[in-house]
Amino acid sequence: MIDNGLLVQMLLGALLGLSVYLPLAAGQLSLATPAFYAVGGTLAALLSTRWRALGATAGGGFPVPSLLLELLLGGLLAGVLALLVGRLVLRLRGIYLAIATIALVEIVRVAILNLPFTGGAIGIFSIPQPFSEASGYLLMALLLLALAGGLCHRLEAMPMGRAMAAIRDDELAAACMGIDTTRVKLTAFVLSAMVAGSSGALAAHFLNTWNARQGSFDVSVTTLAFVILGGSRTWLGPVLGGLLLTALPELLRPVGDVRLVLFGLVILLGPVLAPQGLITPALLERLGGAGREPASREDHP
């Protein structure tokens, strides 16, 4: 029932969950993850199909080191874009960030649809394959997730992570304590973009074809649902949310296409029924130190 292909998708879901989690951990609702995912994927699709030096073979093969280079470049390009956009919007109140990130998703989608070299509505296809079987992608996705998860885990113990938590609890108080709130929020936003960009680069190869629909507003909704279900108090929450909510619709397929209704219900009811999501610091503590000591046990929204 769960084959390697689905496992890769689940891991990509977990990665995108982390991408939404990072700004949220600093109290910023960003819906821009699909834009960065699309940018990373488009870059990888273009490079591997157009740039011969990367070593795509006539038979559709692709060297693994070139793939790693693309993951790096996809992450970097998304990060630079986030830096430019974030500088513009992060000094404003949270509501502007939510709106501006939606705008970014739409601009990127329309650009990929209309640019002369991205293949229009059909997109880019026959993207070369570094692995002949899904297990190779599985390994690669695990590697990415270990990197991103490790980063988030380290972050929770670092001054940057603590500053993010402080801003989330009370931005004004954090600023009064001398935290450079704009810089902290910008860092979280850029890291979020890099995770999404690299994931997009991997997904483009895995899916073999890439078009503007990969980064639509729908993806904002699904990835947000990952975080709401899993919880955004620790990084394990969005990972679990991403894994579960990617697998569930596939397993429910016989019921019919209720995927987005399900995700909508999670987003509508989650913040009311389970404000902290499935994985809470208190739960981790009960399970015996699987996560760090929570900085604060109060039930903040």
Binding site: V85, I99, A103, I228, G264, I267, L268, L269, P271, V272
Partner: protein
């Protein structure tokens, strides 16, 4: 040449009127709650589909009940009004499900962004299950408009009657709302709640009822927009309202969050800007609103007519 220009301007103003409707819907809720109702786009879709069904339209082959339709068909003006009212009622439901529980718990109001987005997603996808993803076209011409000619010749330009209607109805709603807010007792009560809910309550104003009124009106404005666009263009699928909802957000920032005249001016500007995009670049038209949004954030974050942002401590 003049005719083309006239046509373009009319297109722009008519489109702008609809954007103003959507943005006013956001503004009503924002001024009372300080948060944006992300379900607005879904209510826009709902208004379009309800107008279609009330006029006697049948569900297509991909819907849940192929071939089903309401018995009989109402004339367009009545169908539009009923659809707007029904969208307003669903707007109340959104308030009940997405905003009330958070308020009761005293949670961060920003969470309303998330829950209302969820409500919108559920609504649009239920519509998709019921009606299918296919597009629907309204009956055009004399039938739909109750005997009016399909097009009028004004100053040499041929102008579709439905477009004039679209312009008149949205202009009517857009002008009536500020007058109502300014001069009627209920409008003044609503503004008092927007200014300070606690003081308004002490003055004997029922804040909760005013809040519900804001959500009803906001949903009705969205439904009105959806019905008008559906009749004048078509219903290209349940997601069509989401696009208008998102562009309405750009209009909102352009005009200044919470400003009624700003929402109207922003809507008109956005409609005109889109109408002036040359047809060779029409694929980029959908990105224009969001490019303008970024320009506004860069140059004038408070919006064209917004108040200066003052953080309350």
């Amino acid at each position: 040449m003049i005719e083309t220009l006239l046509q373009t301007l009319l297109n722009g103003v008519a489109g702008g009127g609809v954007y103003a409707l959507v943005a006013l819907g956001y503004t009503l809720v924002f001024s009372v709650l300080g948060v944006i109702n992300f379900a607005q786009g879904a209510l826009f879709s709902l208004g379009g589909y309800l107008t279609f069904l009330l006029m006697g339209g049948r569900i297509g082959v991909n819907g849940a009940l192929p071939g089903w339709g309401l018995p009989g068909g109402l004339p367009f003006p009545l169908a539009l009004l009923l659809a707007a009212a029904a969208s307003g009622l669903v707007g109340l439901l959104v308030e009940r499900l997405a905003f009330t529980p958070l308020r009761r718990r005293g949670a961060d109001p920003m969470l309303g962004l998330i829950t209302s987005l969820g409500a919108g997603v559920v609504l649009v996808n239920l519509l998709q299950i019921l009606m299918g993803a296919e597009g629907y076209a309204f009956p055009q011409g004399a039938d739909a408009l109750g005997g009016l000619p399909a097009a009028l010749a004004i100053g040499g330009a041929r102008i579709r009657t439905i477009q004039l209607l679209l312009l008149l109805v949205s202009a009517g709603a857009v002008l009536a709302l500020p007058l109502w807010l300014e001069h009627s007792r209920q409008g003044q009560a609503l503004r008092a709640v927007a200014e300070d809910p606690t003081t308004a309550q002490l003055l004997g104003i029922n804040s909760e009822a005013m809040l519900r009124l804001a959500f009803f009106l906001s949903g009705a404005l969205a439904g009105l927009g959806g019905g008008l666009i559906g009749v004048s263009v078509s219903l290209p699928g349940p997601y069509f309202g989401i696009g208008y909802g998102l562009k309405g957000l750009a209009v909102l920032v352009l005009g200044g969050l919470g400003s009624v005249p700003g929402a109207i001016a922003g809507g008109l500007l956005m409609g005109l800007a889109e109408a002036l995009v040359p047809s060779e670049a029409s694929g980029w038209r959908d990105a224009l609103a969001f490019a303008i949004l970024f320009a506004v954030l860069l140059l004038r974050p408070g919006g064209l007519l917004g108040r200066r942002q003052l953080e309350k401590v």
